[in-house]
C-alpha cells in the first residue's frame, strides 16, 4: 500500500469506504446515507417469518426516536399472525369494494350519481382521495394490490392524541427510524396508510386497541424481500429558496 492511499484511507477518501462523522467535498456515501438513499418500498415478501429478536431490535430504534417535548406519543402493535393478517386484508378489500362501488364513476353501476358523490367527497377529503390513493382503492378492490403485500410481520403505529405539539410528525419520525434500521438489518419495509380503514371496524378497534386516546395512523409491513429491490433511483429536484447575504437565490 502506497503512502498516499494510506493517507487517503485515514481521511476516508478511499473509494467506497465512506467514513462516518466527517465530510469532504464529493466523498463517497457513508453507510447511513447509503441506507437512506438505497431504501425502496418493498412490495413482494418471501414467505419466511422474521425472527422475533430482529423485530424487537427494529422496535428499539423506534423507541429512541426524537419527539416533541420527549412526549413519545406512540404505541406499537405487532401482528405476526398469518390468519389475522389475511383477515385484515380481506376486511380492507371489502371496504375498498364498497368505496369503489360508491365513488369510481368509471365502473360503478350508480353512474352519474357516483360521479357526483366522488366530486363531493374529493372536495371534502382532497388528501385521502388524491388520484394516487383513489387508484389504489380500485386496485385493492380488484385484488391487484394486497394491503400488506404478503408481509409476515406488521407493526401498527398508534398515535397518542394527547402528545405534545404535533404528535403525527413524531409518529413519522419514529416510523422512519424503524424503517431505516430494518433496512440496514437486511429487511424490507413498506408504509401502509390504508390501515386507517380499521377505525370503521368495531372488531379491529378492539383488537388493535384503537380508542381514545389512541388513533391508528400508519402501519409498517416488515419481511424479507423477494429479489434485490434496493437501489438508488432518480427523483424530482425540488426548488429551494436560499437566503444568504441579504439576497435570495434559487437552488435545486
Amino acid at each position: 500500500m502506497t503512502s498516499t492511499s494510506v493517507e487517503e484511507k485515514k481521511r476516508g477518501r478511499k473509494a467506497g469506504s465512506g467514513e462516518m462523522y466527517t465530510w469532504h467535498e464529493g466523498m463517497d456515501w457513508n453507510p447511513v446515507e447509503k441506507v437512506i438513499l438505497e431504501r425502496r418500498s418493498v412490495r413482494k415478501y418471501r414467505d419466511e417469518q422474521v425472527p422475533e429478536k430482529l423485530v424487537r431490535r427494529v422496535l428499539e430504534a423506534g423507541r429512541f426516536a426524537p419527539s416533541a417535548g420527549n412526549s413519545q406519543p406512540w404505541r406499537f402493535v405487532v401482528v405476526r399472525d398469518r390468519d389475522m393478517l389475511d383477515e385484515m386484508e380481506k376486511y380492507v378489500r371489502l371496504r375498498c369494494r364498497v368505496l369503489k362501488f360508491m365513488l369510481d364513476w368509471e365502473s360503478s353501476p350508480l353512474g352519474r350519481l357516483s360521479w357526483l358523490l366522488a366530486q363531493a367527497y374529493i372536495r371534502l377529503m382532497p388528501n385521502k382521495l388524491h388520484p394516487i390513493p383513489f387508484g389504489a382503492i380500485r386496485l385493492i378492490a380488484d385484488g391487484k394490490l394486497k394491503l400488506f403485500h404478503g408481509a409476515p410481520t406488521v407493526i401498527f403505529i398508534l398515535e397518542d392524541v394527547r402528545g405534545v405539539s404535533k404528535p403525527q410528525v413524531d409518529i413519522g419520525i419514529c416510523g422512519q427510524n424503524m424503517v431505516l434500521a430494518a433496512h440496514s438489518l437486511g429487511l424490507g419495509t413498506c408504509w401502509v396508510g390504508f390501515v386507517e380503514l380499521f377505525k370503521f371496524g368495531t372488531k379491529w378497534k378492539k383488537k388493535l386497541g384503537i380508542g381514545w386516546p389512541y388513533r391508528l395512523i400508519e402501519a409498517i409491513a416488515l419481511g424479507y424481500p423477494v429479489g434485490r429491490p434496493d437501489g438508488m433511483v432518480a427523483r424530482e429536484l425540488h426548488e429551494i429558496d436560499w437566503w444568504e447575504g441579504g439576497r435570495k437565490r434559487t437552488v435545486f
Binding site: E25, G26, M27, D28, W29, L37, R40, S41, V42, R43, K44, E106, Q119, I122, R123, P126, H130, P131, I132, F134, G135, A136, R138, L139, K144, L145, V226, G227, R228, P229, D230, G231, M232, V233, A234, R235, E236, L237, H238, E239, F252
Partner: protein
C-alpha cells in the same frame, strides 16, 4: 402569495382525463429487457405486464390513458439490467398541480 390561480384551486381534475392529468410514465429499453417480470411483480400501480415468448418476452406498460404509475422508480431499482426507468413525475393539474419541481435526477454527492 398564490402559486395557483383561484380557478386551479377550484378545479379538481377528472382523474381519467389525459387532457388535465399527467400520470407517471416508464420507458422500457427492449434491447436490454429479458422479460424476467420482476418489475411487473412489484409495481404498486399494476402498470407493467410481461408478454411474448422466448426471446420476444418483454415488459410493457399497460395501455391506459391515465395509468396508476406514480414514478416511484421501484421498477428501476429492482431491474438487474437497467432496462427500465421512470421518465417523469406525475402531475394531476388543477388543485393537485405539482409546484416547484424540476427533472428527475439520481442522488448527488456534494
Amino acid at each position: 402569495m398564490f402559486y395557483l390561480a383561484i380557478k386551479e384551486i377550484l378545479t379538481i381534475p377528472t382523474y381519467n382525463d389525459p387532457g388535465t392529468c399527467r400520470a407517471g410514465r416508464v420507458v422500457i429499453d427492449h434491447e436490454r429487457c429479458n422479460g424476467c417480470g420482476d418489475c411487473a411483480l412489484i409495481c404498486p400501480g399494476a402498470c407493467l405486464y410481461v408478454a411474448g415468448v422466448g426471446k420476444d418476452r418483454k415488459a410493457y406498460m399497460i395501455d391506459k390513458a391515465v395509468p396508476d404509475c406514480m414514478s416511484c422508480n421501484d421498477c428501476a431499482a429492482i431491474c438487474k439490467r437497467g432496462a427500465i426507468r421512470a421518465e417523469h413525475g406525475y402531475d394531476f393539474g388543477g388543485f393537485y398541480k405539482a409546484l416547484h419541481r424540476a427533472e428527475m435526477v439520481p442522488p448527488r454527492n456534494f
